[in-house]
């Protein structure tokens, strides 16, 4: 248990041994389909495909997936509502095609979010980051991002432990106290992150760190069948959407 439900799901997913490239292909294909195809039936099909693949073959727990899809929901609802309320000379009212516009926005956004989640819940970031090298992202940047990924769970644990201690000492009983505790909490986590970086550095220097943090990447072979099925599925989805729309 790392403390982030999506990350836990990614490590436990049945698609975890698949090549990150294969999963990027299907997920980004779905993300782009959600963005570019007409909302009916394109977004609906993308949403169904993303959820179906995640809880079906990838065996992501439906609860985790459902909870994660809810994360952007508040923004989507407020944003869509704001878009379709009209402000004009005669006050505030609904835009003429309010329902259709709101439906289209929510459809695109939900389908897109589900497609991103398909990648997020099947591929740990530590698999994805080395793959960025193929996009010519400099190695130093990938290393910084990898350290970020590996350190954030430690800091998250520190943050939770300190907050628990503060709460037990009545640190969050008033607004004033909450601010003081939050400030101390942020400072403690920040100094711990520096301390940890320094100690890691000392340890690595003792082991002869000169150039980058070289690790042996796990080789996850690509599957031709999976890739062919992805391309075929995406093409079918696009064709059906364009014919029906």
């Amino acid at each position: 248990m790392s403390g982030l439900a999506i990350d836990d799901a990614a490590w436990a997913s049945a698609w975890r041994p698949r090549s990150p490239g294969d999963k990027v292909l299907i997920s980004l294909g779905l993300v782009l389909s959600a963005l570019l195809l007409p909302v009916w039936p394109g977004s609906v099909l993308v949403g169904l495909a993303a959820v179906g693949l995640a809880v079906g073959p990838a065996r992501v727990p439906a609860r985790t997936f459902g909870r994660a899809v809810r994360a952007p929901l508040a923004f989507i609802a407020i944003g869509a509502l704001t878009t379709v309320v009209e402000v004009g000379g005669n006050g505030v009212g609904w835009a003429p095609d309010a329902a259709a516009r709101a439906g289209s926005l929510v459809g695109h956004a939900l389908a897109g979010s589900a497609a991103v989640l398909l990648l997020a819940t099947t591929t740990p970031l530590s698999d994805l980051l080395p793959a960025l090298q193929r996009l010519r992202v400099p190695a130093a940047v990938i290393e910084v991002a990898s350290v970020t990924y590996r350190m954030l769970f430690v800091l998250l644990t520190s943050l939770r432990t300190i907050r628990e201690a503060q709460t037990a000492r009545m640190g969050y009983t008033s607004v004033r106290g909450s601010y003081r505790s939050s400030g101390a909490l942020a400072a403690a986590v920040l100094t711990r992150s520096w301390d940890r970086a320094r100690r890691l550095q000392d340890g690595l220097a003792g082991r002869g760190l000169e150039t980058g943090l070289r690790v042996l990447p796990e080789t996850l072979p690509a599957s031709r069948r999976f890739e062919a099925a992805s391309v075929l599925g995406l093409a079918t989805l696009a064709a059906v959407s364009l014919v029906v729309a």
Partner: protein
């Protein structure tokens, strides 16, 4: 406040990615140069990224009853300078999209532009200006963090207004709508984040003065900005 996946039309998603790219590339160059000169900074920069990510797990009580989390862009800009924040902020946004389902991949460019470019630069500008005008470290931190937050929120609202103009009153009407709707949570949050910054730096000037000096936030000579200068002279053997 991150723009969710699929919320921007394709042309806007591409446009904002192109707009944010030079800043992020500039930040990446700065990081590559830094790492080549001091290999140990990989770990410090990674720690900074992790801290920025984790900061969003701190909840600030808000006047409106709900609680919101700080964006940390202003803090990052004060501590690590805006160019580095352009890269670290983008990495953190990617992590938030893939680990927390906040934001998205096609909207990463737009979110990076508001949160990793405009926010840090505006915040750093407010911080430097306040310090130059004699506002002191804590005054500068308050201004930097509050302004970074406000600038980020205003940019996001304008991005949304441009993408979804009002049917009758166009871009201006939509801008008023989005700025108004999100002001309810974002304006108290900006003030709250400024206060959090002040409290945080009050602790840091006592507990982590060497680190602040190394980052160039404090000058090595005793600084009368710090609220607890006398305590600061205590031995720092454990650091």
């Amino acid at each position: 406040m991150h723009i969710a996946e699929g919320f921007l039309p394709p042309a806007h998603a591409v446009g904002w990615t192109i707009a944010a790219a030079p800043f992020v590339v500039h930040g990446a160059r700065a990081v590559v140069k830094e790492v080549r000169e001091n290999p140990e900074s990989t770990l410090l920069l990674g720690a900074a990224g992790a801290f920025t990510f984790v900061l969003s797990a701190i909840k600030l009580p808000s006047v409106t009853g709900s609680s919101s989390h700080p964006t940390g862009t202003g803090l990052g800009a004060v501590l690590f300078r805006p160019p580095v924040m352009a890269l670290l902020g983008t990495v953190v946004l990617l992590f938030q999209a893939l680990l927390l389902a906040h934001g998205g991949l096609t909207t990463l460019g737009a979110n990076a532009f508001s949160m990793a470019v405009v926010g840090p630069w505006a915040g750093y500008g407010a911080y430097s200006l306040t310090r130059r005008l004699g506002g002191g470290l804590l005054g500068g931190v308050f201004a930097g963090m509050a302004v970074a937050d406000l600038a980020t929120y205003a940019t996001t609202a304008l991005q949304l207004a441009w993408a979804h103009p009002d049917a009758e009153s166009g871009f201006l009407g939509a801008a008023v709508k989005f700025l108004g709707v999100f002001a309810v949570t974002q304006v108290p949050l900006a003030i709250g984040e400024g206060l959090l910054g002040v409290l945080l730096f009050r602790v840091l000037t006592v507990n982590a003065r060497p680190e602040l000096e190394r980052l160039g936030v404090l000058t090595p000579s005793p600084d009368d900005d710090a609220p607890a200068v006398s305590r600061d002279k205590a031995p720092e053997g454990d650091r």
